[in-house]
């Protein structure tokens, strides 16, 4: 009965079926993410009227966890990035004998690109994964169900505070990362090129426009929403116990970082046209 042709048809069918399923799954996830964002914003705006306000205390607790506790690592890494940019910039420009122009590169690339990117990636690794793991564990322990049956919207109680805290804290962290990166780069530049830190600072202030700063900060806000949604999405679809939590946490970090990098490119392309 089985002819060689049948196998090929079966294999093609199977591949098509898998591609189809994956596509439907991806579209469904996008839809879920969009409705989740809508619901989270709905509770933020309408919660008080519906008798379920979003608690400030919950937002502050999340903000401390996501923002304040990340300051040391953000400081360390953005300082490192600043120095790295200075080293590479001076090395590259020396070939043209133009190393004094290094400040342009450092100022624009760190404010527009590196600070939001490194902050986004760090927050994805620290807080996005934590969010996914927390929600995943709550789901398998039936804590989410218990909120629902108590008449407490899990989105309002768990997602909205995290979303608000992220959207406020990630741009603030990015602003801090800007300052630290520029300062650290300045220290290196002034030592290497023997110009004063004051002259460097002066040049940076002259070079940077509000537009550059806003470019970086708006990206940071978008990254914040992406990291939250990816974390919540993966956390809330955990099945299969502790192993499932681990798998979805990993997935959330990989997806969040990928989303950040792709969005970064699209945003830069759209805004600089």
């Amino acid at each position: 009965m089985d002819r060689p042709g049948d196998f090929r048809v079966n294999a093609v069918q199977r591949i098509l079926e898998r591609v189809g399923r994956a596509t439907v799954g991806a579209v469904a996830e996008f839809g879920y993410a969009a409705s989740l964002l809508g619901e989270a914003v709905f509770w933020l705006v309408m919660g008080r009227q519906r008798g379920q306000p979003v608690r400030l205390a919950a937002i502050v607790a999340q903000a401390v966890e996501i923002g304040i506790n990340a300051v040391p690592i953000i400081t360390t890494l953005s300082a490192t990035i600043g120095v790295m940019l200075a080293i590479q910039g001076i090395y590259t420009l020396r070939t043209f004998g133009a190393e004094t122009r290094v400040t342009v590169g450092i100022a624009l690339s760190s404010v527009r690109e590196f600070s939001p990117l490194i902050t986004g990636i760090l927050v994805a690794g620290r807080s996005g994964s934590a969010l996914a793991a927390r929600l995943g564990t709550m789901r398998i322990n039936q804590e989410i169900d218990s909120l629902t049956v108590m008449g407490i919207s899990p989105v309002r109680f768990l997602v909205t505070p995290a979303l608000v805290a992220m959207t406020v804290m990630v741009p603030l962290l990015t602003l801090w990362a800007d300052l630290v990166a520029l300062f650290a780069a300045g220290l290196y530049v002034s030592a290497d090129l023997e110009i004063s830190l004051a002259a460097y600072t002066d040049e940076v202030i002259n070079l940077l426009k509000v537009n550059d700063l806003m470019h970086g900060l708006s990206k940071a806000a978008i990254f914040a929403v992406l990291v939250t949604l990816v974390g919540v999405l993966n956390g809330s679809s955990v099945t299969g116990g502790a192993e499932g939590v681990g798998r979805m946490t990993t997935r959330s970090v990989v997806q969040a970082i990928s989303a950040i990098i792709v969005t970064d490119m699209i945003f830069a392309f759209a805004v600089t046209r």
Binding site: R50, G51, Q52, R134, T137, M138, N141, Q142, E143, D145, S146, L147, T148, V149, M150, G151, I152
Partner: protein, 264 residues
């Protein structure tokens, strides 16, 4: 309109293609304790999840205190949910909140009581489940029996009219299990709650239940008083009551087919 606290009419549910509940109908009267029994995979947990409105049925209706759980609007469902309490199998206490905060959670979210009153109510509920003095501990610091009792305290925090208990005595030693049985009886007697207990613990069922509903492969096999269930001539019920295993299948061909896997 019927005065039953819970009415289930012809409930059919599916997981994918597999039918889990088949035409389940039953009623629970005010102040009644109904035990839902059945082996693993009989559909007990699925039934409970539908009663709680966590899953949508393929067809059929569930009414609790006159509200249709699956077609009610947001506000109506919200009002209903303040009148029902649920003690989940694993407790399902918020692990980030202390025991006291867990019990205070529904009060904080649904009432305008001030903190002093909430504190008093919380300690009263802990008193009821003999956990007074434990309100500052985190759920992770409690034993299994204490978690179950704390979950009861949270379930009754809002003085519900209907209480659902999922496997209240599973995994507990006999003494703690008996104390939970007594607690369920006390709650019914003191507050006139309607209580649905999903369990496979025979001893506790016979002690607390007014009526027993035996589920078997998604169907209501029997729904009757404790005494009638005990006397039932049905073999499957007797197997369940006497902890006998089902007769082994004497069909070597079917057995071999299963061993060979589905692709042959």
């Amino acid at each position: 309109m019927s005065r039953a606290a819970i009415q289930i009419e012809r409930l059919n549910t599916h997981y994918g293609d597999r039918q889990v509940l088949k035409d389940v109908s039953l009623e629970v009267q005010p102040g009644e304790i109904l035990a839902v029994m059945g082996g693993s995979g009989s559909g007990k947990s699925t039934l409970l999840n539908h009663l709680l409105g966590l899953l949508r049925p393929s067809s059929g209706r569930v009414r609790i205190l006159g509200t249709d759980v699956h077609s009610a609007g947001f506000a109506e469902l919200q009002r209903l949910r303040t009148k029902i309490g649920v003690a989940f199998q694993g407790g399902a206490l918020m692990s980030s909140l202390s025991v006291g905060e867990n019990i205070a959670l529904p009060l904080r979210e649904h009432t305008d009581l001030d903190e002093t009153t909430i504190g008093i109510v919380t300690r009263m509920k802990l008193e009821v489940v003999s956990l007074s003095g434990f309100e500052h501990l985190m759920p992770a610091e409690l034993s299994g029996g204490m978690i179950k009792r704390a979950a009861f305290a949270r379930a009754i925090a809002m003085d519900p009219r209907v209480l659902f208990c999922d496997e209240p005595s599973a995994g507990l030693d006999p003494v703690v299990a008996a104390s939970i049985d007594n607690l369920i009886l006390r709650l019914r007697d003191a507050m006139g709650m309607s209580i649905v207990v999903v369990t496979h613990d025979l001893e506790s069922t016979f002690k607390i239940a007014d009526r027993i509903c035996v589920l078997d492969q998604g169907e209501v096999l029997a729904l009757d008083s404790v005494e009638a269930i005990r006397q039932s001539p049905n073999v499957r019920i007797q197997n369940l009551l006497n902890r006998r295993t089902e007769d082994a299948e004497i069909d070597p061909d079917a057995y071999l087919r299963r061993l060979m896997g589905p692709n042959r």
